[in-house]
């Protein structure tokens, strides 16, 4: 696991302040919600809905940073800032990268909260 997938100090600080058991539940919630945000990004892109696109990217960024998923957070932040405005074709590739990074984050979070 690379440090940018899940930044350990951030994750451990979260466990320390909120309690490890609670963070386990929080991770479960994130793993249930994040796929919805990812699909919202794609459908907003397809529908040309800039508000929905920005909001989904914003939420994903915010949650990623909470768990220390820095790379995922950075990708999402980039999408939030650029929005739908520029060449939308480029977004397809970015969303693919986002999905791939999310898969790594999900695996890492499951690993970290197991037991």
């Amino acid at each position: 696991m690379s440090d940018t997938t899940i930044d350990r100090p951030t994750f451990e600080a979260l466990q320390e302040t909120a309690g490890a058991e609670f963070v386990g539940e929080l991770v479960d919630t994130f793993l249930a919600e994040a796929p919805i945000m990812l699909s919202e990004l794609r459908s907003a892109l397809a529908a040309g809905n800039a508000d929905a696109f920005r909001r989904a990217a914003h939420s994903l960024k915010s949650n990623s940073n909470t768990f220390g998923a820095l790379a995922l957070g950075a990708l999402a932040k980039n999408l939030e800032l650029t929005g739908l405005a520029p060449a939308a074709a480029a977004h397809g590739a970015t969303l693919d990268a986002l999905d791939a990074e999310y898969a790594r984050v999900a695996a890492a979070l499951k690993e970290l909260t197991r037991g």
Binding site: A18, F22, E25, L26, T29, E33, N65, T66, L81
Partner: protein, 350 residues
């Protein structure tokens, strides 16, 4: 008990994102607060208008109604305006933060929210709100509902406006020898009971007590809110005050204490009413010849040996049936010509 007033408060977390809601709620509950949540601005406003909360933690980026709209509505709603709002968001750009502050947000915390900062900001905001609530309570207790309402609606501004109203001055006769003859604790008890009775009589007739000086008080009828027949209301209040003092004396005599006597002066006319003082400390008061006359009439009760003295303007507006004794023109300090003075007969209901 250093945390008293800052823990155990009722907070509302507004965030469309479930992870954020859960985490914030958890942090706040660990700090001892009671937390309710709303997933968008519309739900939040409904909840705020239904129940009382001490503080709101508000996300900005939300569907249906975003945080900016919520801030705007809280700001525009008189009942909600004092409610502290801490914006918790990961908004990009300083402009958004500035906009939040301009819309009245108390503070801004970027996400992910640092728990230590969160605690510090919340405690600071709650403390501020507690002081504001205390101030409101003080205004309510000491300034009467009318003045408090006037303050809330028109805000606090020094300076006055012309009103037509009645002014009453009242004090306890022979108060100084009384104070000297008894322990100070007893004097405080006496004053507290006396003021409670006088306030009750005055406010039940629509008057506003705006000054208490030792054993004396000043009350206004007809300002800050207009009062139809404020002249008769002032006289009715005066008669009730005398009645209450009579009942109070019965108790005092039974307890082996000296009776108290009061004198009341009432005058009616135009005056300037408003907040006088400095921007830091001011009282609602009335100024003008009419006010001076009422004060002189109260002083004159000693010379005249009467209890309630009123001026011609007040007398002119009283119903015919009110029993009045005409005392004739009296030289009043500060008046170039003698003033017609009338005594209101006691033991009558007006």
């Amino acid at each position: 008990m250093a945390d008293r007033g800052s823990t155990g408060s009722r907070l509302l977390v507004v965030d469309d994102n479930k992870v954020n809601r859960l985490l914030l709620t958890r942090s706040l509950e660990l700090q001892g607060h009671r937390v309710a949540t709303a997933e968008n601005g519309r739900i939040a406003l409904d909840m705020l208008r239904k129940d009382a909360y001490d503080l709101v933690l508000l996300d900005m980026e939300m569907p249906e109604m975003d945080g900016f709209q919520v801030l705007q509505q809280i700001f525009d709603d008189r009942a909600l305006r004092g409610l502290p709002v801490i914006v918790t968001s990961s908004l990009e750009g300083v402009e958004s933060v500035v906009r939040c502050i301009e819309l009245g947000a108390e503070d801004y915390l970027p996400k992910p929210v640092n728990p230590v900062l969160l605690k510090a900001r919340i405690n600071a905001s709650l403390e501020k709100k507690r002081l504001q609530d205390q101030l409101k309570e003080m205004v309510r207790r000491f300034a009467t509902p009318e003045v408090a309402q006037d303050l809330q609606t028109s805000g606090f501004a020094l300076g006055g406006k012309r009103v037509y109203a009645s002014v009453m001055f009242s004090d306890i006769r022979g108060f100084t020898p009384l104070v000297e003859s008894q322990p100070p604790e007893e004097t405080i008890d006496l004053l507290n009971t006396y003021y409670t009775l006088m306030f009750d009589a005055i406010s039940s007739h629509g008057g506003v007590v705006n000054q208490m000086i030792g054993d004396g008080l000043m009350a206004i009828f007809g300002a800050p809110l207009p009062l139809p027949d404020h002249e008769a209301s002032a006289v009715r209040a005066a008669l009730e005050m005398i009645d209450l003092v009579g009942m109070f004396n019965t108790e005092r005599v039974a307890a082996g204490k000296a009776e108290i006597r009061i004198g009341i002066g009432i005058a009616s006319g135009e005056m300037v009413a408003g907040y006088a003082g400095t921007s830091k400390r001011a009282t609602y008061t009335c100024i003008g010849d009419t006010v001076n006359l009422a004060a002189r009439l109260e002083t004159h009760t000693k010379t005249a040996g009467r209890t309630i003295l009123i001026d011609g303007a007040t007398r002119g507006k009283l119903p015919e049936r009110v029993a009045i004794e005409v005392l004739g023109p009296v030289d009043i300090k500060g008046k170039s010509a003698p003033v017609d003075v009338f005594s209101v007969s006691l033991d009558q209901s007006v």
